[in-house]
C-alpha cells in the first residue's frame, strides 16, 4: 500500500497542476481553482497515509 499512496499523491499533484493551468479533466469556468485546491489536499492526505504506513502499522482507526 505504501507505493500506492505515493503514486496517488503524485497523480493528485499532477491533476492539481493541470487544474491550476486550466486544463483539468473536468475543468469548467470558475471551478478549476477549487478542483486544484481539492486535488492538492488529497495529495497531502495521501502523503499522510504514506507516513502512517511508514512509521507503524498499529494505531489506526480500526
Amino acid at each position: 500500500m505504501k507505493p500506492l499512496a505515493l503514486i496517488l499523491a503524485a497523480v493528485f499533484v499532477v491533476v492539481a497542476v493541470l487544474y491550476f493551468v486550466g486544463h483539468g479533466p473536468l475543468a469548467a469556468p470558475g471551478v478549476h481553482v477549487k478542483h486544484g485546491i481539492v486535488s492538492i489536499i488529497l495529495a497531502l492526505l495521501c502523503l499522510v497515509w504514506y507516513r502512517f504506513q511508514s512509521a507503524n502499522t498499529t494505531g489506526s482507526l480500526r
Binding site: 473536468l26 469548467a28 470558475g30 471551478v31 481553482v33 477549487k34 478542483h35 485546491i37 481539492v38 489536499i41 488529497l42 492526505l45 499522510v48 507516513r51 502512517f52 511508514s54 512509521a55 507503524n56 498499529t58 494505531g59 489506526s60 482507526l61 480500526r62
Partner: protein
C-alpha cells in the same frame, strides 16, 4: 452550508440564459437581517439552510437578485459569521484536535487519545463531502434549486430523520449494548457519515440532519452524533467561505458592506445560540420535532408552489 453560495451563483447562470423579467435589486437592511437570522439558525438546525434560502424569498416574494455580486458577497460574510460562531463554541475541542492532528502526523500513528481518533474521523468524513461537493454541487443546484423540488426534498428530509429515529429505536430494542462514544467509531463509520452528509448537496436535505441520522445508525448517542455533525460543519463552512472570499472584492460588493457586516455579526450570534441550544437539546431529546417541521413545511410549500398560489 457553503452550498448557498454556489446555489446563488448557479441561479445567476440560469438567469443569464433566460430573458430578464426583473431588474437587479439589492437586499434591503430588513431582508439582510432576516436572512442573517435564517442562516444562523437553519445552518445548524437539521432543517436545510439551502432549502430555506430558496423557499423563504420565494414565499415572501422578495425582489432580490440572488446571483448579483453584492448578494454573493453578503452570503459569504454570513457563512464566515457562522463559521466563527462554530469555532468559538468548540474552541477547546479545536485546539485539542489541531494539536492531535499534527502530533499524529509527526508520530506517524494514531494513538488512543480520543482527540487523535476524533480528528481523523473528521478527516475521513470530510473527504467524501469535499470531493462530491466540488464535483457535483453546481450541476445539482442547476437541476434542483427551484421551489418545487426544494419543497419535495424538504419533505424527504423530514422522512429521512423520522426513518432514522425509527430504525434507531428498532436497533436498540434488539440490542442491549451501550452507545458508542465518538472516538470509538471506525474510519468506515466516518466515511459513511461523510457520504450521508453529502446528501445535503440536494437543496432541502439538511447536512446536519443526515449526518446525525448516520451517526445514530452507527450507534452514537444523539448528543455525540450532533457534536460530530457540528464539528464536521466547521471545516466545510470555513473552506467554502474562504474559497469565495474573492467575491468580497467584486466591484459591486461594497453596495452591501454595512448589511454584510451587521448580517455577519447577527449570523454569528444566532449560530452560536443555535449550537448552544442544540447541544443541550440532544442530551435528552431526538430529531422528531425537526423532522415533523420539515414534513409540514415541505408539504405546505409544495402545495403552494405546485398549485401556483405562489408563482
Amino acid at each position: 452550508m457553503g452550498t448557498c453560495i454556489t446555489h446563488a451563483r448557479g441561479l445567476h447562470r440560469q438567469r443569464e440564459s433566460l430573458p430578464r423579467v426583473r431588474t437587479d435589486a439589492d437586499v434591503t437592511f430588513v431582508q439582510a437581517m432576516l436572512l442573517a437570522v435564517l442562516q444562523g439558525v437553519s445552518e445548524l438546525f437539521p432543517v436545510s439552510s439551502l432549502g430555506h434560502t430558496v423557499l423563504l424569498p420565494a414565499l415572501l416574494r422578495w425582489n432580490v437578485d440572488e446571483g448579483s455580486e453584492s448578494f454573493l458577497a453578503f452570503v459569504v460574510v454570513l457563512h464566515l459569521g457562522t463559521a466563527l460562531a462554530l469555532i468559538l463554541f468548540y474552541r477547546h475541542d479545536w485546539i485539542a484536535l489541531t494539536r492531535a492532528f499534527f502530533a499524529t502526523i509527526v508520530r506517524g500513528r494514531i494513538g488512543d487519545d480520543p482527540a487523535e481518533r476524533t480528528v481523523w474521523l473528521l478527516v475521513a468524513a470530510t473527504i467524501p463531502v469535499g470531493i462530491l461537493g466540488v464535483l457535483l454541487e453546481s450541476s445539482v443546484k442547476k437541476l434542483f434549486a427551484s421551489p418545487i423540488p426544494v419543497s419535495l426534498f424538504l419533505l424527504a428530509n423530514g422522512f429521512i430523520m423520522l426513518l432514522g429515529e425509527w430504525l434507531r429505536r428498532r436497533q436498540k430494542a434488539h440490542e442491549a449494548q451501550p452507545y458508542r462514544k465518538l472516538p470509538q467509531l471506525t474510519a468506515k463509520d466516518g466515511v459513511l457519515v461523510g457520504f450521508a452528509q453529502s446528501l445535503a448537496l440536494l437543496p432541502g436535505i439538511s447536512r446536519s440532519g443526515s449526518a446525525i441520522v448516520a451517526g445514530l445508525l452507527r450507534d452514537l448517542h444523539h448528543e455525540d452524533a450532533a457534536r460530530y455533525s457540528f464539528l464536521l460543519a466547521t471545516p466545510v463552512i470555513v473552506a467554502a467561505s474562504l474559497l469565495e472570499i474573492p467575491k468580497l472584492l467584486a466591484p459591486d460588493a461594497h453596495v452591501v458592506l454595512v448589511q454584510a457586516f451587521v448580517g455577519g455579526l447577527v449570523a454569528a450570534v444566532t449560530a452560536y445560540a443555535s449550537v448552544a441550544f442544540l447541544t443541550r437539546w440532544f442530551r435528552h431529546n431526538d430529531l422528531a420535532p425537526f423532522a415533523w417541521y420539515c414534513v409540514v413545511a415541505g408539504a405546505i410549500s409544495f402545495v403552494l408552489f405546485a398549485t401556483k398560489v405562489i408563482a
